[in-house]
């Protein structure tokens, strides 16, 4: 198929960006979206032009590095996939495709389509862990049984890949789904219980400091999340936060 691409170009964080048009031909439906961009980039290099910068790594939907906003949707028109898993068969000959970076105040553009998501890391530094040192003699892994249902829900929350699609999608640029997922994973497990109160407060405080917006329950994040992280995690985080801030004693 032949396509028209309208792609965001921006030299670096301090420069102004703009949409630039590109034509590309002979694209097969079995190619992934990023393979299509690889082809475009190699053509640009051979023509002596600068290739388009975009983040990507594992190309199998698990590392969370790819982050394109395609035709107004985070990770494009398919559901339950990251950009690298999106295939060209979702488009048709003659289509015009708009490709932009994940936009949010807390995600400044690095170059072209690559953005800086280190705000997510800093939220994790504030409390995304259980304070347990490495030693050869923590208690036996089977010493504390965990209800299968809770273990499964903790796992579901923990499958978040930290791509930031939730933030890019949200009209408030809220990171509540991302933070809610991490808070939930630990809240659902006995190992996380000990520090639950401090964790949720510290993570929320950092989230606010990074400039993410609040949640107004539109649910767009859940729809666009490539891993199907549930809105329930936001509700659970709110409960955890309320519990932590209203109880008087530890």
């Amino acid at each position: 198929m032949n396509l028209t691409l309208k792609i965001w170009r921006q030299k670096d964080a301090n420069s102004k960006g703009k949409m630039v048009d590109y034509q590309i031909s002979d694209i097969s439906g079995d190619m992934s979206f990023l393979e299509m961009l690889d082809v475009l980039n190699n053509q640009l290099i051979e023509k002596g032009e600068e290739p388009i910068a975009f983040d990507h790594d594992c190309r199998e939907g698990i590392c969370g590095m790819c982050s394109l906003y395609i035709n107004g949707e985070a990770h494009g028109p398919d559901r339950g996939v990251t950009t690298c898993q999106l295939h060209m068969r979702k488009f048709k000959d003659g289509d015009t495709i708009y490709i932009e970076p994940f936009r949010a105040k807390a995600f400044p553009v690095v170059k072209d389509l690559a953005v800086d998501r280190s705000a997510f890391d800093r939220i994790q530094h504030a409390g995304g862990y259980v304070s347990v040192n490495t030693s050869g003699n923590t208690q036996d892994a089977n010493a504390i049984p965990v209800q299968k249902e809770n273990a499964d829900m903790a796992f579901d929350a923990a499958t978040c890949i930290g791509c930031g699609a939730c933030v890019a999608t949200c009209k408030n640029s809220s990171a509540m789904l991302f933070v809610g997922a991490k808070v939930s994973q630990y809240a659902l497990l006995p190992q996380g219980e000990v520090e639950a109160k401090e964790r949720v407060q510290n993570m929320v405080k950092q989230m606010d400091a990074e400039g993410f917006g609040n949640c107004s329950n539109t649910g767009a994040c859940e729809v666009e999340c490539p891993k199907g992280i549930s809105l329930e995690n936001i509700a659970r985080m709110n409960r955890e936060y309320l519990k932590a801030t209203t109880s008087t004693k530890d």
Binding site: E46, D57, E60, T134, Q191
Partner: protein, 667 residues
């Protein structure tokens, strides 16, 4: 010339690690604050090492080329992690895990290292659970296990098809705690460009900030390389696009020996290649072989009808299917080790039974498992076991629960529903057992320079068993290196911070900058990918699943010629003082073009077949690999001498005192 002393502790196998820990020097907590350690790479090995070293009190600087340590490619490991917990009561033990690993590696790994790995395996599970890693559990609340290839017990812990992700996020969380405390200084989007040696010891690195292009100097008392394997030398592999061998290759050029470069794992269950413009291959977890049966049609006419689109696999009768692994290896069936399963698939496809257009695909079929699970679920629920529609529905639910994300991944890529029609799979490059040579302490031949995880060669011999990579990465990072490095660092408590304004750093930086300038100003005509793809083709066709003298010799010549062409004709756009992905890629491919030649040279030298290294000249009448213990029971450690062709071979003889060397049989 450094000597190859593996420094294996004396004494009985089962006491070696304990005795060693009791006898090595320690650094007292106050002095640890005076010592800096650099860790390159933040996957399971690097992430866990950085976290643990920081917990102990060292000042850690960690580097990764991705935008966050959580992106490291360990995250993509699917199936599970082995541990000798014997929770299933099926006769597992430290010895059995040790034995299976040595045998699975076709007797080309070091006994003492593998035993230690098996010994600490149980601690890994305890540690990860304590961190809040959500492993799969049974209804009673205890941990669940599954089985993997090459073993007869269920010792694999898992988190659906995302075990690597959950373990990496565990290590990342441990790192985050230390980053928050200021004990780890994290350098995201940084690439290690070279190691700096002072008085023969590793004392720091030169790094490039991938956002600004700035060249940075970092001093430290020890440097740990945890940069993963070199599977991307094949261009198409299951590795991430950025996975590279550059850190390992750079230290090799500075004196670290490179061991067994030809030992590569070609994983049997990957999604087949679809087109020339494909950039990477996707693995389907080995855990699928627990429930999936591998087959091709028995009749050539069925194969042709399938390729022509006139017949669907589901229409082929049971008696017309060749379940070739079950036929050839009745004891292990679909759960033979990876190297055996890969070669068997190649054998059938070479014989003309491949089931897709390219003739390079076999079926992985879940219909029996769906029926079996469906009947069981119907029985448990007191429903009609003979209602086929119900059984299929229930069975699919069970399979979805076990492998849901893998099935979804397959469907997105291939556009076929694997619940309804068998998956098509073919082997692809996945893991490299070879790597930087290390002694028992995980130190390379350069003092103060360590290599851990996939980057080293140590534990998997000539073939790695499934679910053992995660185990080794975390064993090295959490439980081995943090102890052994103290022995070396105990001599550095009075050294003070390593200055970077010295001539050694000047020289190393100049070398790095010169090469970057050369790449940028090359003014060739072809992009980096052009050369990388051509290298990949040479490697796959001549150094892949089957190797022979003639092809290996021509591979060496071709790679050499390609390398020359690369330096003449590569075009790298932009400048070096900016975010320039092509420049980073060019440096990595330049290194692959050197490593590739050493790889072929090593494969040529080893005229035996063992594990993943199959020399056509060395096989049994039945086409099984034929090992030659008399001449090749050694680790081939290569010393850099300029061109890859000048590399000098050093042999570390492998001594087996606790295991009898046998012909590996899975029949």
């Amino acid at each position: 010339m450094a000597t190859l002393d593996a420094k294996i502790p004396k004494g009985p196998l089962k006491d070696k690690w304990t005795n060693h820990k009791n006898n090595i020097n320690l650094v007292n907590p106050a002095n640890k604050r005076l010592i800096d350690v650099i860790v390159v790479g933040t996957g399971l090995a690097g992430g866990s090492a950085a976290a643990t070293l920081a917990e102990l009190g060292y000042n850690v600087k960690a580097f990764c080329f991705q935008d966050s340590p959580r992106r490291a490619h360990s995250i993509a490991a699917q199936g599970g992690i082995n541990a000798a917990k014997n929770y299933q009561g099926d006769g597992d033990s430290i010895y059995r895990l040790f034995y299976d690993t040595v045998k699975g590696g076709d007797y080309r790994s070091r006994e003492a290292n593998v035993y230690r790995l098996a010994e600490v395996s149980a601690n890994i599970i305890d540690q990860c659970v304590a961190q809040g890693v959500p492993f799969a559990r049974e209804y009673g609340g205890l941990l669940d296990n599954r089985s993997f290839g090459g073993v007869l017990v269920s010792r694999t812990f898992y988190a659906k098809g995302q075990t690597g992700q959950q373990l990496l996020l565990g290590a990342y969380s441990a790192m985050n705690r230390q980053i928050g405390r200021g004990k780890i200084k994290m350098y995201n989007r940084h690439e290690m460009m070279d190691v700096v040696k002072v008085d023969g010891k590793a004392r720091g690195i030169i790094a490039r900030n991938l956002v600004t292009g700035e060249i940075e100097r970092h001093g430290a008392h020890a440097v740990v390389i945890a940069s993963g394997g070199y599977g991307n030398i094949f261009f198409l592999s299951t590795n991430a696009m950025g996975s590279n061998a550059s850190a390992a290759w750079k230290i090799h050029k500075k004196g670290a020996y490179f061991a067994n470069p030809c030992f590569t794992q070609i994983h049997p269950t990957c999604i087949p290649v679809s087109g020339e413009l494909q950039a990477k291959l996707t693995l389907m977890s080995e855990s699928l072989r627990n429930d999936g049966r591998i087959w091709v049609p028995k009749k050539k006419e069925d194969v042709e009808a399938i390729r022509a689109g006139k017949l669907r696999p589901t229409q082929i009768k049971e008696e017309d299917r060749d379940y070739y692994l079950e036929r050839r290896y009745p004891a292990f069936g679909n759960l033979v080790p990876r190297d055996v399963a890969s070669r068997a698939a190649k054998e059938r496809c070479d014989a003309g039974y491949g089931v897709n257009q390219t003739g390079e695909a076999v079926y992985l079929d879940f219909s029996s498992a769906i029926t079996r699970y469906g009947k069981e679920a119907a029985h448990v629920k007191g429903l009609n076991e003979n209602d086929n529609a119900l059984v299929q529905k229930l069975g699919k639910e069970v399979v979805a629960n076990k492998y849901g994300n893998l099935f979804q991944m397959y469907e997105k890529i291939v556009d076929e529903n694997p619940y309804e029609t068998p998956m098509m799979i073919y082997p692809a490059v996945h893991y490299t057992m070879g790597g930087i040579w290390v002694d028992y302490n995980l130190m390379t031949t350069v003092p103060g320079l360590y290599a851990i995880g996939e980057a080293n060669f140590s534990d998997h011999g000539a073939n790695r068993l499934g679910a053992s990579a995660l185990m080794q990465g975390l064993a090295d990072g959490y439980f081995v290196l943090p102890y052994t490095i103290g022995d070396y660092l105990s001599n550095d408590i009075r050294t003070g911070a390593i200055p970077t304004d010295t001539k050694e750093f000047d020289e190393a930086e100049k070398e790095v900058v010169d090469r970057l300038e050369k790449l940028i100003n090359n003014e060739g005509t072809k992009p980096v990918d052009h050369f990388h793809k051509r290298l990949g083709k040479i490697m796959w066709n001549k150094c892949g699943m089957a190797r022979n003298e003639k092809d290996l010799k021509s591979a060496i010549e071709e790679i050499k010629a390609l390398r020359e062409e690369f330096w003449k004709d590569v075009r790298v756009p932009g400048t070096r003082n900016e975010f320039n992905e092509e420049l980073a890629k060019a440096g990595r491919v330049a290194d692959f073009l050197e490593l590739g030649e050493l790889f072929a040279k090593d494969a040529l030298e080893r005229t035996e077949s063992c594990g993943g290294h199959f020399r056509e000249e060395s096989q049994t009448e039945e086409g099984e690999a034929k090992r030659d213990d008399e001449n090749f029971k050694y680790v081939a450690a290569w010393e850099y001498k300029g061109e890859p062709s000048d590399a000098v071979l050093h042999k570390e003889d492998l001594v087996y005192e606790n295991i009898e060397l046998k012909t590996r049989s899975y029949k």
